[in-house]
Assembly symmetry: none
Homo-oligomer: 224 residues x 4
DNA sequence: AATGAATGAGCCTTCATTCAT
DNA sequence: GATGAATGAAGGCTCATTCAT
């Protein structure tokens, strides 16, 4: 009871702190002060600052994923719709509704400067999403598209999204506030990325294939 | 003389250290040990750890920009070519040729977690590049495109590039090594991003095909 | 039942731990982990780390004394035989048969760095043995031997024995392994000490008196 | 200047503290408070609590050895005299003149519970003394005395001395104060040990040889 | 009777910084 | 101008102990 409460409280405070300041800059003392628990509580419940970090990381993401779940599409949903849904979910997770959620910031940090906890994060969270995106893109790309093109296309999609979360501070300096307020909602950004991406994929598909790959004959055959 | 030498040496070591470990994780002692100067030298020359960081940051970027300069296009160069040149330069700066250059890593860090030195970085380095990209895109987008679309389009381009530098560690986990070795050179990535972007903008107009296929000659020209 | 069992288990684990690492280096947590009881069990059963130590100390020695009891000699047993029996018992207790028994190590520790529990140990255990040894020596020393000589003689005997237990680690470094394996059993050591001692006492009994007096000249020479 | 002063001051305070309380029980803070230096000074000068300990250990003994040096005997000095000188030096070192010197207590501690610094101590300090003692005993023992007898004899000598330093607290409890004050000076103890030892060696030298060898019949009889 | 959770004190260490030469 | 020595402030961690079941 009080146990679950304490653990949970520590995890949440720790997550927010780690997200805001990074691992090194965050002090256990600071976390405990905010969580109103003793300094030794961290050691008792998590053993280590590093393990606290790892647990906070996973905790945050599972929480965030549950909070903004990926939509489930009935069979036969067009790939375009699924892509839009995917993007909308990702950007909503990242940019939140009211305030920027620290959960994603924490993930961003870990992605930038991976610790031991990163591999688990990648395998548990990132790879499934990556695979999901690939499965959507496969319906938009020509059949038999080579793996590296499939992957780079996915990275082009993800890169666009991640940018808004990762470099929002830069963005704040480059773009006038009025524009920011009006046009950078998760929905509008999702629509932009979707449009941009779908054009990129569907626009000149015949020509694309020849450009990306060195074996034009096989590719164009597959397309027909 | 020896003074200038010392300053320079400290700046370089400090830059590399800050890039690799971040501000907090980098110790003055570590820098001084590597630079083979006294512990007090940093405080003597720069006054402060923070000011050392700021100077190292700017020093690094000016160096990197000089090392991989943006090509200068003769008037009348097609926008597609300029976009390719732009992308190629950025990715080359970020991913280097042999080893990942720490200069960009340092900038990435600063972009993610800005310190006081960030504003100067944005205004001196980032904004000019942003404006340059916008001027290229303006030739590709319909006239009268509203600002927020122009901007978001630029961010879509930048986001794709930055991703490969920023999250390369994640990439290493998601993609098989053989593919990484073969297909993730700055040139190939630049080509992919250019293709994806041009499709995204032109919606698959016929120009695509002629614009960017088979231009190895242009590539080498750009480099010279 | 389970209570008694728990107490006993804690006492034994604690004794071994204290013997191996000393009071300060031993942690209650470590004891409880090994004894497979809760952390609070020690404080519950013994109230205090110090009281646990005291109890473990006494517990260990009573156990060890019962395990290797002093022989009982029929009236008229020659003093030489009694001395041999005494030495053999002491050395056997200290050096054990197979492995070095921690019980004695614990006592050694306490003797070296007495805590509050020391006085009880001395009075209950050490003094009786001391008196027993004196009673044996009294049959070997000239009548009317002054107390301080009697005492110092006893200390010479005890010192020889204790050395092998107390400084066995030093011994291991000074003496080749083959010699250690072959010649440092409790029996052989007891025989050596007995022989050395008996010679010391009986060997030059006539000379003793003169010897003690004879040396002031040498002393003053040395001093100058 | 101030450097040497600080280092020295720390070393001395540390040595006394370690000797009195042992490694674990001694705190760097306590040392620094007494030495009137900052807590970080230890880290600066010695890097580590352990290295401070090691240095304090060696420092103490070299100091003590210089303070009470072993006499140098002209060639032809009788073995008896050399033994007396050896014993007197050792006991004087151990028991001091006025107060019990902590330097030896520190060595005792290390001998009882060796740390990494022990090997150096043994090789640099202990072994030379051991060899010196052996060279003296060799003139008192029959030629061709087997090594293990030579060694055990030396241990009998050393054991007697060490006892007075190591277990002086026990001694204080067993012996009346008046006797302690009067008869336990280094000189008198040295004389006692010398006498006891010389008797042990010279007393029945013919018997010695036979006595040291196994007499299984007697042993088993005693056991029954 | 016995336990898991929680506490507060304290220790070693590290670091950026300043001081005295 | 440049350095080795010294400082004080934290920080992470551990431990014995207590509290509330």
């Amino acid at each position: 009871m009080a146990d679950e409460d304490t653990r949970e409280r520590i995890l949440n405070v720790a997550g927010a702190e780690f997200a805001a300041k990074g691992f090194q800059n965050t002090t256990i003392r600071g976390i405990c002060r905010q969580a109103e628990v003793n300094v030794a509580a961290v050691n008792y419940h998590f053993g280590d600052k590093e393990r606290l970090y790892a647990e906070a990381l996973m905790h945050a993401h599972h929480f965030r994923i549950r909070q903004v779940p990926m939509p489930e599409w009935p069979p036969g949903t067009p790939a375009e719709d699924r892509l839009r849904g995917f993007l909308r979910t990702m950007l909503q997770r990242m940019l939140g509704v009211e305030e920027l959620p620290w959960q994603e910031a924490l993930m961003m940090r870990e992605m930038f400067q991976p610790t031991g906890a990163c591999r688990e994060l990648v395998e548990d969270i990132f790879r499934p999403h990556f695979e999901l995106l690939l499965s959507i893109l496969d319906d938009l790309l020509p059949a038999e598209t080579p793996d590296h093109v499939r992957h780079q296309t996915a990275f082009s999609v993800i890169g666009q999204c991640v940018f808004y979360r990762f470099h929002h501070r830069i963005l704040d300096m480059l773009v006038p506030v009025t524009e920011l307020d009006r046009h950078y909602t998760p929905f509008e950004l999702a629509e932009h990325v979707a449009q941009f991406t779908l054009n990129g994929l569907l626009g000149g598909s015949e020509i694309d294939a020849t450009a990306h790959v060195e074996t034009p004959s096989t590719l164009s055959e597959d397309e027909s």
